[in-house]
Each structure stands twice: as C-alpha cells, then as structure tokens.
Subunit: 215 residues, 2 copies
C-alpha cells in the first residue's frame, strides 16, 4: 500500500544512498566520499547504485539538491521564528533572518554547503530542484523582497537589483568564512548584514533599521 516511487527490494534505496552520502561528506569530507564507500555503508553492492544514479556525479548532484532543500527549510524556519504576522519593519527583520540562517547553515555543514554550491553543472531549468518539496532558497529570498515591496518599504524598481546584491553578499561571506581566503577567522556578520540592508533599502532609509540583534 505504500507508494514511494522506489521501495522494491531494499526499501527506498536511492534515498538511503543520498542520505548516507550526505553523512559521509559532512563527517569525513568530500575526499572520503566514494560510490563504493556509500554502498558499503548502506549494505549493498557497489553497482546497486547504478540502478538509481547514472554515475558518481549524479549522486553528488542529488546530494547538492538535498543540501539546497535543507538550506531552504532553515531559511523559512528562521523567518517563521521572527514573524507570525509580517509587515513593515518586520519584513526587514525577515530579510536579516534569512541572511543569518544562510551563513549559519554554511558554518554548520561546511562540506555539504561546498558540494551544494561548488558544482559547475546544475540543472539548466529555471529553478533548482530541491529534495524536499521545499522551494529553492532563491524563491525564499524573493518572498522576503516581495514582502518589502508590498509593505511599501522599498519601491518596485529598487527591488530589481536587490536579489542579486543581497544573495551575493551573504553567499560571499559564507564562502569566505569556510576557509579559502584570509578572512577565514572571521569578523562578525551583523555589520555586513547592516550594509546589505542599507543597500537594499536605499540611501534614504539608512537608520530605519533596527539596532543589530545580539550575537
């Protein structure tokens, strides 16, 4: 009576493989990840994976999609934790919350974050595919900015560049915090978020923001 699309012999391999792959990558690093290792841990033969993924790279892509879904969920949870009803400056707090959640996710699951965003080939379709039914993180950001427009905090035309700018800055902070550059031991996030919000809101509203939250 259960209807998951693949629960035949093993009972939802594919999902098991993806989850185990996420675990290996996050706990022992991307270098420790191999098809054979994951299959071994799941308890199937190495080639079983080929019934569900064309090759190793396809499995990695599935891992990336999984990571995207997790990130998206955390951003939405962060929003909900801030506002039950959202309007006015609450919308600004939401935007800030998503940024914080984004960086927190990168720091909490650095290897997964790298796999999620460090890949060249992503589905060329308009939106990324996420593992859960989650909307992809970009849509969450769009929601935040739409709310700002609806609450008349920013003008529609100012919204135009906002998505790119906000995403870009927060993603850059996360990337650099993960260790590549000389900013590895990093300065606090909040001042950066202040500048992001200033940039999004525009020069007029500079001090309309709430004082930076603690931490």
């Amino acid at each position: 009576m259960k209807k998951p699309q693949d629960a035949y012999h093993h009972g939802d391999l594919r999902s098991s493989l993806v989850e185990e792959a996420v675990r290996v990558i996050e706990r022992e690093g991307l270098d420790a990840f191999s098809l054979r290792e994951v299959a071994r841990r799941v308890g199937v033969s190495p080639n079983a994976a080929y019934r569900h993924f064309e090759d190793k790279d396809a499995l990695l892509s599935a891992v990336a999609a999984h990571g995207l879904g997790m990130l998206s969920r955390r951003m939405r949870e962060a929003i909900e934790a801030v506002s039950v009803r959202g309007a006015g400056p609450r919308a600004i707090a939401n935007l800030r919350a998503t940024g914080r959640a984004y960086v927190a996710f990168a720091l909490a699951k650095p290897e997964l974050f790298r796999v999620t965003f460090g890949r060249q080939a992503s589905p060329p379709g308009p939106d990324q595919t996420c593992t859960n039914g989650e909307p992809d993180p970009y849509r969450v950001l769009e929601g935040c900015l739409d709310a700002l427009v609806e609450a008349s905090v920013i003008s529609p035309e100012r919204r135009a560049g906002a998505e790119l700018f906000a995403w870009t800055t927060v993603h850059g902070y996360a990337s650099l915090a993960l260790g590549g550059g000389p900013l590895a031991s990093l300065e606090p996030l909040e001042p950066v978020l202040d500048l992001v919000i200033d940039g999004v809101l525009g020069p007029s509203a500079t001090s309309a923001r709430k004082p930076a939250a603690k931490r």
Copy 2:
C-alpha cells in the same frame, strides 16, 4: 651559474608541474586532473612529482597559490590602468577596478578560481603564499582602502568593516556567476559595484561616485 632553487636534472620541474596542472585544470576541468596525467604531460614518471610535493593535495595547493598570484597581478594591473597618480575620487575608481578585475578573473578562469578558493585547508599563516612575488589579493584590497583613508574619502573607523564587506560582495558575485546558484545567467556587475562603493563610503556620500562606466 643559474641559481633557481631546483634546476637539477630536469630544469625546474615543480614549476613545470604546477604550470601543467593549471593548464589541465583550466582546459579540462578539475576532474581531469591527476598526478599521473600531469606527470605524463610534463614527460616524467608519476613518482617524480613526489620529490617536490608531499602528495596530490600539496600540488593542488601550489596550483591554488599560483591562481592567487595571477588574481593579485590582475587586480594591480587594473589599478594601474586606471590611475597613474591616485588620489581623491581616483581612489574610488581604483576600488571599482579591482572588483571588476576580480570578477573578470573568475569568469575567465573558472576552474582555476574554484581551486584557488574552494579549498578548505589554506596555510594558517597571516597571509597566503602567492607563486609570483605578488602580494596576495587581500593586500591589494587593503591598499585601495588605505588610499581612501589617506585621501580623506572615508574615516578610519568606517574603513574597519570595509574590507570584509567589499571582498565578500565581489567574491559572492564571482562564486554565484560560476554557476552554482540560480543567478548563473547573471545580471550586470556594475549596479552591484555601485552598492558596494556606497556601502564602503557610507550613507553620506551616496552620489559622490562617478556614473557607472560603460559595459
């Protein structure tokens, strides 16, 4: 009579290995890179590399250092192309030029850029090691911001967060442009640079910037 530190049997292997590795990575992707492949192309046995690099990862780190040096050079060249004498708003143009050069490098050599910044382990020392005598890119940015302070365009305290913010935004743009996220087919850079400069200069000087350059 020549004194390069290692020009014995082969004549500066190590450098040859690094350069060939850069070539392979940039032309055929990181996946096509292997110790054996690089050694093969250079014309030495696979194990010759082990006289110069502890393991594959060490060679990759050398590639990353090489990439850092290239990036740094391009940023400095971009500055020189803008200003023979630098002061006042010229310093702002310099900052913008480094940002443009940073993104241009990432787009021109995407695989190399990924290797350069996508690594977890970097030398823990205060500054990254570059291949050429180049200062690392972070120092170049510091130079730009110092010039802004010296020219009294920004206050010293405003400079504090500026390095992180500027680097972060430009690096994020470059990373996203390389294809991970949904911003792959990307919106123009200049408006983002406008916002970066606004953020660095502070809310007072919003329209002090020059109109965005063409292209």
